[in-house]
């Protein structure tokens, strides 16, 4: 299935956002996620199904002004 993760086209077999994060190696990482512009809390990632063409954001802390 083709989706867009952080702006880049990605192939994935993950069914849920949780699976995707694990697959991408973010299991223990301190991250936050959004799908198609909507925030998805950590607790909801397991139920959040992923569909072809979804735009997914996976973000982490960074320097800011």
């Amino acid at each position: 299935m083709r989706i867009v993760v952080n702006g880049e086209v990605t192939q994935t077999a993950a069914a849920t956002l949780a699976e995707l994060c694990t697959a991408l190696g973010f299991s223990e990482a301190r991250i936050a996620t959004a799908v198609n512009g909507d925030f998805v809390p950590e607790a909801a990632r397991g139920q959040r199904m992923i569909a072809q063409g979804d735009r997914i954001e996976i973000v982490a802390p960074r320097q800011g002004g």
Partner: protein, 263 residues
Amino acid sequence: MKLHLYGFEAASRLLLGTAQYPSPQVLHDAVKASGAEIVTVSLRREGARERTGQRFWELIKELGVRVLPNTAGCRTVKEAVTTAQMARELFDTTWVKLEVIANDDTLQPDLFGLVEAARILSGEGFDVFPYTTEDLSAADRLLEAGCEVLMPWGAPIGSGQGLANPAALKSMRAYFPETPLIVDAGIGAPSHAAMAMELGYDAVLLNTAVAKAGDPAGMAEAFAQGVSAGRKAFLSGLMEPRDMAVPSTPVAGTPFFKLDNAS
């Protein structure tokens, strides 16, 4: 008297940004030297390999300061709101420095999007620190929207120009005597920070002027003193500037004084 922001009490009236430092060590030293108890941070896309964000998060935790996540780069209400929601989970805080940018050359706030996003986020329990201008009509609506703090710009972000419109900042202070007002952006030198505090502002938030200094830690200390100097001066009652000169040394008793050379 301390600074109160959404129930948090800070002795330091300098808030510092964490971006643009030459190295994590320099950032660490600058924050320490600044005495800042609140630092701004952001969130960005994470790569699984680099794990940049994870390392940064460790650094911040060590600093033991309060973090204020921003929504830098957001151009729409939707982007800003989702970014704030992600930030709340990521940084485990209800605080957010709300930026909705109108224009890339001046990076000035979109006042309309800002008020709308502030209303939504306040409704969701966020403590919103809006990056705004000295405009009073936007300020009124931000307070109605639930903001308890206002952060007008001094000058465009990163410009280091200082206070572009002191008269407008004075009006804002006079119009909102009770609201905590923080000058955010445009501060380039301690004299600018001191001037903001002398006008009665409650605090100053800056980043570039420290991060891009030759010696960031030294500059951070300089700003800490400048902010403190301006605050003390405000509390101590500044003299009014005068158009004409007035002798400081007493005139009476001047030797050699004769009526014919009296002025």
